[in-house]
Symmetry: C2
Subunit: 338 residues, 2 copies
């Protein structure tokens, strides 16, 4: 099951039997609106705080996944998830409603693939028949906590990114029909000394490259094995930095083969600076748009590399540089699928 230093090969190939994706108003105007199960017209979603709205996003994504997978709440054995809010309370409170045993994760925006890797590990080892895993973020809740309340109307530099309001969840099972989770490479903390919290993409790119290159060494395959390699939320700047690093390291990854969820999710002209970000970004793009593409046969094999900046407002204030991480999971179309 272990390949190389830090890659797991899932010989049972756990199946993503269903997914749920929920978005907010900004995502409804984005490039991938058609790929969401549910879109909300406003950021409050009928709640009296952004954090409660955030919680509801995750609840709804999980409920959608269960509904589409034909499973009742009590058939889900474990939920693995997390978010960016202090003490990941939106996810924990959602799990109070959802009811299943819960493993709380914190990997910042890498949480989606941390959860999918660990969920696949559990299913592969027959530690469960069905698990739910996902991640979420809420623009106004996250901005308020990490930077300023959006109501202040603060200015941001073009290197900054726009936190996605959205939640994506996957129902992972030991059998059934759907895309298969075939391997995972766990990231280590990479910190190149960058300190600007308005340029997370640039800070996270080396972590993404480190994990992607480790994946190919550990699995002893070439990048051409995948139709698509997609990072979580590096945005325009981080995506460009990654491509530069691949070139420098002579890693044969072509521009056409390498995308970023943070670039894909919004439309040109939306004021999202360098692109989307947030723990929900890679979750909604992967569990919505990309798996839909896989169902249509447009992608057969992909490597999803969720990237996280493990900083906090406090570490920034204390002069720390930004520790980053990236976890990669390979998802492949079931044999015989179109």
């Amino acid at each position: 099951m272990l390949a190389g230093h830090r890659t797991w090969i899932f010989d049972q190939k756990p199946v993503i039997t269903a997914t749920g994706t929920v978005g907010g108003p900004f995502e409804a105007n984005g490039m991938l609106a058609d790929d969401f199960d549910l879109l909300h017209e406003d950021l409050w979603i009928g709640q009296d705080s952004y954090e409660k709205a955030h919680q509801l996003l995750f609840e709804e994504a999980c409920q959608k996944a269960m509904e589409k997978g034909g499973l009742r709440k009590d058939q889900v054995q474990f939920i693995l998830g997390g978010d960016l809010i202090n003490q990941i309370t939106p996810t924990s409170l959602a799990c109070r409603t959802l009811g299943a045993p819960y493993l709380g994760l914190f990997g910042a925006c890498s949480t989606s693939m941390e959860g999918l890797a660990l969920g696949a590990m559990i299913i592969n080892a027959k530690g469960a028949n069905h698990v739910l895993t996902g991640a979420s973020s809420h623009n106004a809740a996250v901005e308020k906590q990490f930077r300023y309340p959006t109501e202040y109307g603060g200015q941001k530099p073009p290197t900054s990114q726009w936190t996605v309001t959205g939640a994506g969840a996957a129902l992972l099972s030991g059998d059934g029909k759907g895309p298969r989770v075939t391997s995972a490479t766990i990231g280590r903390v990479v910190d190149m000394g960058l300190t600007d919290p308005f340029n997370m993409g640039g800070a996270m790119a080396p972590a993404a490259v480190d994990t992607i290159e480790a994946h190919f060494i550990d699995r002893n395959i070439e990048p051409s094995y995948y139709d698509l390699i997609v990072t979580g939320d590096l945005g325009e700047i981080g995506h460009a930095v990654s491509l530069d690093l691949f070139k420098k390291h002579q890693t044969p990854i072509h521009e056409t083969q390498y995308k970023d969820c943070g670039i894909m999710i919004y439309r040109k002209g939306q004021p999202v600076y360098s692109g989307g970000s947030g723990a929900g970004c890679s979750a909604v793009v992967t569990y919505g748009h990309l798996l839909n593409q896989m169902k249509k046969g447009e992608i057969k094999r992909m490597l999803v590399v969720a990237t996280g900046a493990l900083l906090s407002p406090l570490t920034f204030q204390q002069g720390e540089s930004i520790p980053c991480i990236a976890h990669a999971v390979s998802i492949e179309a079931e044999e015989g699928d179109s």
Copy 2:
């Protein structure tokens, strides 16, 4: 591997080959001082912030475990850990130093056993030869964040608890000599509507009881199977509430068999109110004192039930009750050990 609804049986019985425990000045004056590998005389540990001191605690605990286990940094394949600080930055920054691939966890004070359960899952599935897992807390860093800076000298009610300054880490391997991790029961979020953040023990007790009772049903064993059942940090009040609930449910757990890490760690007369708490509490007591007792043959089988209150200052301010969780892991002396 799955027993009942939410219990994993580890048939490979992963081995705790070594542990590391580090404490602060309050712990040095406590009941279990002799069981620490390293004790610091002051809370700053030579750092210029409590958070950096917190980070160092975890680094040192991991280093001690590696040193005692005779492993180099690069032989540890994964680190699973977390703490209570926003975005678990002390653990993430420690992993920047430690270097191994890292899976960040958030289970509040239940993190120690969440990590041991997942670490054992990975070792059992042959996803690694060696993993490190642990949890930590720092009294002044945690108090500052969740309540008031201790320098304010704020008063607390007797139901409150004293956050442990300490870190405990376990080196878990596929083979070797030492206590075995035999099973784990994952907790669900239990919230009985309590809202007082100065009575966490009372709030967490029902979650502990829920997980403990599920463990016996899932494994189809009686509580008498264990020499010791120990909760993480319920303190005097939570411990009494748990005993009441066991009685009410006719669960045959005797007072002599059931202890709490938060009660054990400090000496009578130390001003710790209802007892110790914090993510480091169950980690240092389990990986120090209790495993030492197991080595001496005083305990053969124990069930460690780390308990967590998944609230944040914000959820409290927003009027939420306290969502709680508990994860249980059974540790048994190796066959043939004294």
